[in-house]
């Protein structure tokens, strides 16, 4: 007797699917929604995380920072480092580093005629911040600092409001000088900057680096060197910097911004849990469909068995049916997900929740990010786990007794 060829099994499987198109359609849709949700919601979650990371990096952190070992715990003028020497410059100016800046950064107070506020005074070289931090993108009102010798100050827009002052007016900046006495100096407000987070607009005021160094009396010393590296070079650069800056602390953003990292972990943890839940729900639907399909074909399977088809072939037929459903559902789900992600490629505007997002440091606009690895895992988990759920119905089908099955209507 001629063995039943796999191609016949496949033909039988795919024909059976269209025996009851609506039932198959609903199952297919359930699979599609499952994959769509895993991929699209995953992409938005990744996008949200990415805004957290970018924000952390743009917020004067960079990928890597070099600073005095005690500066993180106690960010004062005493804990400073020397300006980059020849050895460090050779690392900083290498191809692996995209941009870098040396800053003076100390706690201080800004006083207008009416109000005073605690803040952080940041002395910058404006040119080096261009591709490094948010302040490099320029100001909203007035002008940017021209160079590190510029005697003006940039305040955040919210800060102007709180201090009840404006561009063109003068403020006094105070901080502790290197000798422990209070150092102060008057500055003209030359520009106002916008940041996505109001907190940022209040947390920093920017002045020329050289001017601040003079005010504090620290010569050419700085508080930190922050840098942005080329893709994939972070670890190399960090190692190279540790070699040349033995007395300093060289940390990457993951260490400097633990909150961002833990937030990312929590979200991807929840995403994994959720994907499993979706898969289970899809599995129930698929199992149900297959049971029904087997039930209405009991007689047919009995006939197949009676004319000599082996149980394994029947088993394959049922599994084959679910494979076809799964693959079609997966295709549709992928298309839907790509469509959704493509539609929102220009960004999903969450301004309605701006202050809520600000609370954990995320942006108002989220760009979905689709990673190949996510596509593969979403599809693979759903297809593999859903296939597992078809094994039992398929096994039941292959175990049918021909005589009994034939006698059923």
């Amino acid at each position: 007797m001629r063995a039943v060829s796999p191609s016949l099994v496949f033909r039988l499987s795919s024909r059976n699917i269209w025996r009851n198109p609506k039932r198959s359609l609903f199952t297919l849709l359930a699979v599609a929604v499952g994959i769509w949700s895993a991929m699209a919601l995953g992409a938005f979650t990744r996008g949200l995380n990415q805004t957290l990371v970018l924000k952390a990096i743009n917020n004067l952190t960079g990928h890597i920072k070099v600073m005095h070992p005690d500066y993180r715990r106690d960010p004062v003028v005493q804990n400073r480092i020397e300006a980059a020497g020849a050895e460090m410059l050779s690392v900083l100016d290498s191809d692996a580093v995209k941009s870098w800046a040396a800053r003076v950064r100390v706690p201080g107070v800004v006083m207008s005629e009416r109000e005073s506020q605690g803040t952080t005074l940041v002395g910058i070289d404006p040119a080096s911040e261009v591709n490094l931090s948010f302040i490099g993108k320029g100001v909203h009102d007035g002008r940017m600092l021209e160079d590190e010798l510029d005697g003006g100050v940039l305040l955040g827009r919210k800060m102007l409001e709180v201090l009840q002052t404006d561009v063109g007016k003068r403020v006094v900046l105070m901080s502790e000088g290197v000798d422990g006495a209070v150092a102060d100096r008057g500055f003209r407000i030359v520009g106002a900057f916008d940041a996505e987070l109001e907190a940022t607009e209040r947390n920093y005021v920017f002045v020329g680096r050289n001017v601040l160094q003079k005010m504090l009396g620290i010569g050419t010393d700085v508080s930190e060197i922050s840098l942005r590296v080329a893709d994939g070079r972070q670890d190399d650069v960090q190692r190279a910097l540790r070699d040349v800056a033995k007395d300093s602390l060289v940390e990457n953003w993951e260490t400097l911004e633990p909150l961002t990292v833990s937030m990312r972990d929590v979200q991807s943890g929840f995403l994994h849990i959720w994907n499993v839940i979706v898969v289970i729900a899809v599995g129930f639907g698929l199992m149900n469909t297959l049971f029904m399909a087997i039930f209405e074909r009991t007689r047919e399977f009995g006939l197949f068995r009676a004319i000599g088809m082996r149980p394994a072939m029947i088993y394959l037929q049922v599994v084959g049916e679910s494979v076809v459903l799964l693959v079609l559902g997966a295709l549709l789900g992928n298309l839907l997900a790509l469509g959704t992600i493509g539609y929102f490629a220009g960004g999903l505007d969450l301004s309605r929740f701006a202050q809520g997002l600000e609370h954990f440091g995320a942006s108002r606009i989220v760009y979905p990010i689709l990673r190949l690895s996510d596509v593969v895992t979403s599809n693979a988990t759903i297809i593999v786990l859903a296939l597992l759920s078809t094994l039992y119905p398929a096994w039941r089908a292959s175990r049918l007794e021909p005589v009994e099955a034939l006698s059923k209507i």
Binding site: F26, V33, G180, R264, G269, V282, F360
Partner: protein, 406 residues
């Protein structure tokens, strides 16, 4: 009809069971996750308002947006007394707020300086109870300052050391005094620990030339859920001058409420995909149920039964099935909540994140009516809506052709 529906449900026990399980599973998941969300919101809200801000504050209009020294509440004693009598108010405390530079011998830092009434402050804020070294104030004219742990470390001061306070008082006057550190608190909130110094109210008023004025009345309430009613009672009682306002916690810290709304709405994005998947499964089941009974229905129709009756039977069946699934799911979900309510629910990284918001590292969910009903009711409605599609097929049946079908 009930009997008919009941029998039909168990015509295919395995199919029914699987559908039931799918519904129960989805309901349980929603009950658990929503329970988790709601409990974490409660914890967030309570932690946020009990530490310093209170559930309600009375301020001069405009003070919240732009906290300026001169926007004061005057003659506040009578108002305080009256507010304390309002139903639902647990306590009310006066505060005055300023900004000053604090200098120890070697260090200078800017800080938010808050003047408090020691006797009542502990009833609106947890900070008095969080003094880890030294003690909190006893009298409101005491000469001393209580500061946050990080501020103390940054200033390199310990108990008994003197701090010089330098700031702007009312109407541009100079505020300057020297006070010993009597207590150091550790609230767990980085912002408070790094930026806050408290003074007894009378000492504050003297230093900042405030005379008898204050900036806000901070109110704690018996039940946070009632805060809107209490706000309304205060407004209706006409205790306030026209330029004085009552602000709720969600107006004082709008970020928290929006964060909760954002979390809830993004949660529902996830939930709706699950509900859709389950709804497909339910439609499928009933679609099959109707299809395989085509003959039966046709016979009944030709015997004179109205299609509406048949349709109602199918819907009744689905109501029974879905309700059964939902009840099982609610029970299961409640059990999961109870379990995690004991051991705490946590995923990697959550502890670090929670610390930032001043929360415990794990969520201990509680069973609540909302958690039990929010998700399942949506599942119920969606499923019923989905079932209408197969159920209305009854009208399109052609009895003559249908009877001939096998």
């Amino acid at each position: 009809m009930l009997k008919l529906a009941w029998r039909n449900i168990w015509r295919h026990p395995r199919r029914t069971l699987l559908t039931l399980l799918a519904i129960a599973f989805a309901s349980a998941v929603l009950v658990f996750f929503i329970g988790l969300q709601l409990s974490s919101y409660d914890a967030t809200i309570n932690a946020t308002i009990s530490i310093f801000n209170g559930a309600l504050q009375i301020q001069k209009e405009g003070y919240h947006d732009s906290p300026q020294m001169r926007l004061t509440l005057d003659d506040s004693n009578k108002l305080l007394e009256e507010v304390r009598k309002v139903e639902g108010v647990r306590a009310a405390a006066p505060r005055a707020v300023g900004f000053a530079l604090l200098s120890s011998g070697s260090r200078t830092y800017g800080a938010q300086v808050v003047g408090v009434e020691p006797e009542v402050e502990a009833q609106v804020s947890t900070i008095p109870g969080l003094v880890k070294r030294g003690r909190y104030f006893q009298r409101s004219d005491e000469l001393g300052v209580v500061i946050g742990e990080d501020l103390a470390r940054n200033l390199k001061v310990s108990l008994g050391d003197e701090l010089t306070l330098l700031g702007q008082g009312m109407e541009g006057s100079m505020a300057a005094t020297v006070l010993p550190v009597v207590g150091i608190f550790s609230s767990g909130s980085e912002e408070l620990d790094r930026l806050m110094a408290q003074l007894p109210l009378d000492t504050f008023r003297e230093t900042f030339s405030m005379r008898g004025s204050i900036h806000s009345i901070v109110i704690s309430v018996d039940r946070v859920a009632d805060v809107e009613d209490i706000e309304k009672r205060i407004v209706d009682s006409e205790l306030l001058d026209p330029n004085q306002v009552v602000l709720r916690w969600d107006e004082l810290i709008p970020g928290i409420k929006q964060m909760i709304e954002l979390d809830m709405s993004s949660g529902w994005f996830f939930y709706s995909t699950l509900i859709m998947i389950v709804a497909f499964s339910v439609v499928n089941t009933f679609f099959m149920a109707v299809l395989e009974r085509t003959r039966e229905f046709c016979v009944m129709l030709s015997l004179g039964m109205r299609p509406g009756y048949l349709c109602r039977t199918v819907i009744l069946e689905s109501v029974m099935l879905v309700a059964g699934g939902i009840i099982a799911g609610m029970l299961l979900g409640a059990l999961i909540i109870l379990y995690f309510g004991k051991v705490g629910f946590s995923v990697p990284g959550m502890e670090e994140m929670a610390r930032q918001f001043n929360l415990p590292g794990a969520i201990y969910p509680r069973v609540s009516l909302r958690a039990l009903t929010d998700g399942p009711s949506v599942i119920f409605l969606t499923s019923l809506f989905a079932v209408l599609f197969p159920a209305t097929r009854v009208w399109r049946l052609n009895p003559i052709e249908g009877i001939r079908q096998v």
